[in-house]
Assembly symmetry: C2
Homo-oligomer: 355 residues x 2
């Protein structure tokens, strides 16, 4: 395809000669080298490891680069180096502001170092996660970041056979695939239950959404029940729904819970959105919060601190996770010996008016 679209005069000086088969039209490293009077290897080094090149040449090269407006071809570089500065990140959802904050923070830390996040959305499906992983690996990424500790066998297999740094985020536990950065969801559930008891609530319950796919939410529920049992109560009250957590389903879930167990006086929600829906339901039917019913959630979403009443919740280290993942990986690229660590960033109880 020569004629119309592109032009491609990347030849040495005469552009009458046989045109190259393809061309990007942009200046390339050899142009920079020519202009600076050095070889391409030196240009490459000036870019990759600046202090391996003398000040004199580095100056000439830099000048040539911005004279030409040279932008390296990352794809060519990636092929030659057989790895790209891509970080494959797989999250279960984008709509969920938890992960959005984590990704923003991660990206903010990676971008200045020249690493590009490649985002994948598994939709809480482990199958899809495995597929995404495969397609990410074909980019020869510098690292892979997965959400949670639960993966398909083939995911694990691929990941170990590919010898690429992997970090699991947003959840920690005993075993570790490689590196885990997050917090214990079980501890979150326990914290919620203990807090409700501390606020003198007697019959406390758990409302969870989409627990079959959102295993971290399920863990929070399990931690909650552990604490209930540890307190000597044996009636484990809960209402769970198959739908994804949202304000919409929160109200109905609360209504259903109260219908089944009218004496409940405190509720822990697997997610703040559910709790907000429940708060609206309380306003609708005239339940006093927190006097009649105490509410505590998870996530510390935007609205929780500013609703009427304000909502108690447990705040996960959303951006901290992203930042820490980036930090860890960056350190590891510099020194591959690192890795295999588990970092617990903990969670914070935000006590507000609803409890």
């Amino acid at each position: 395809m020569q004629a119309l679209p592109k032009k491609a005069q990347n030849g040495t000086q005469e552009d009458h000669a046989a045109l190259p088969r393809r061309a990007t039209g942009r200046p390339q490293m050899s142009d920079v080298a020519l202009l600076a009077g050095v070889s391409t290897s030196t240009v490459s080094r000036a870019l990759r490891m600046p202090d391996a090149v003398s000040d004199l040449l580095r100056g000439r090269i830099d000048a040539a680069i911005d004279h030409l407006g040279y932008v390296p071809n990352i794809v060519a570089g990636g092929l030659a180096a057989s790895r790209t500065r891509v970080i494959g990140v797989i999250v279960p959802s984008l709509n969920n502001s938890f992960f959005a904050a984590t990704i923003e923070a991660m990206d903010a830390a990676f971008a200045p170092k020249g690493y590009q996040i490649m985002l994948g959305n598994s939709g809480y499906s482990l199958e899809r996660e495995a597929d995404l992983l495969d397609s990410f690996l074909s980019w020869s990424p510098s690292a892979i970041v997965l959400t949670g500790r639960n993966h398909l066998r083939r995911t694990l297999k691929r990941v170990v056979s590919c010898d690429v740094p992997v970090v699991e985020m947003w959840e920690i536990g005993d075993h570790t695939l490689d590196t885990a950065i997050g917090f214990s969801h079980r501890a979150v559930g326990e914290m919620a239950a203990k807090h409700l008891y501390a606020r003198n609530k007697q019959r406390i319950a758990f409302i969870g959404a989409a627990l079959t796919s959102d295993l971290r939410a399920k863990e929070r529920g399990a931690g909650f029940f552990d604490a209930v049992r540890a307190a000597g109560r044996h009636d484990v009250l809960s209402h769970t729904i198959p739908e994804r957590a949202s304000v919409e389903v929160g109200g109905a879930a609360l209504a259903a819970l109260l219908e089944a167990h009218p004496s409940v006086d405190g509720v822990f929600f697997s997610n703040d959105a559910l709790m907000l829906g429940a708060l609206f339901e309380c306003q609708r039917v005239g339940i006093k919060v927190p006097e009649q019913l105490a509410l505590i959630g998870f996530g510390d979403m935007d609205f929780s601190a500013w609703s009427t009443p304000t909502l108690s919740t447990i705040r996960p280290p959303r951006s901290e996770i992203g930042l820490e993942v980036a930090r860890h990986l960056l350190a590891r690229f510099a020194d591959p010996a690192l890795g295999g660590t588990t970092i617990d960033l903990g969670c914070q109880l935000m006590q507000r008016q609803s409890t």
Copy 2:
């Protein structure tokens, strides 16, 4: 592949010879070719244009591919073809659920066709947008998707000089860089004002956040004022704040507006989050919604349909935009003659209890 980490037997037959300098350890196209008894060009064609290859060979190739678990090296392919199946998408924010929904939809449409979205977060900065564009272009993407119609000169320059399909989303207008898919924010503002008047409100106002950077929100405000003036009112009431829209700032903004203009009886918010904050403020100080004060927002966020009272809002075609962008681009890859269109997806007034 067998031997543990890397091994690299991509030689012709004897692997005792000097090992290659580097190797990925994964099987490559030549392995597939060898096993299927064809040349690599045939394998490549079987992958790229299946019906250019005979059924017999295609069968053998497919078998070889999944026998070896071959995954093509996208980077090598990208270099050879001088373009990758990457779509560079730049949005102003990820936390904002508007764009998250658009991206999810776009990704869902692109992924099955083998295109990978590369996401960039400009943080509402045009400078950063331009930088991101540069770094995306060095990936030789198949297309670039930008948010909005407002860009730096150098962004435009780069984009035209690179001869890559570009679509601007979430906003349309008269001029078009290449293709625009979205809706008119001015029309949204007008719709809001007209609706408030239709509900018999007399003194209506606009509350906007971060209008200097969020030019689409500003447009919505401008459309609102247009309609106010068209209705013969000349006191254009508004309160704007520099912070980004959030539930937090919505309450304070409403309080400030009412302090300055106590007679206001209807408010249009540049964003639903602001409106929710204002609703909480109303609950706090005992303002009756909609009797004393009507509220209408923009975005139709998760909570708007389920709050107490439910909130009127104007719903943008969030996922529709993503889907349409993907559709357009996919069609265009097949037939490069397309392009230069503007698609207005419109917005929908969701009338609820707050007006």
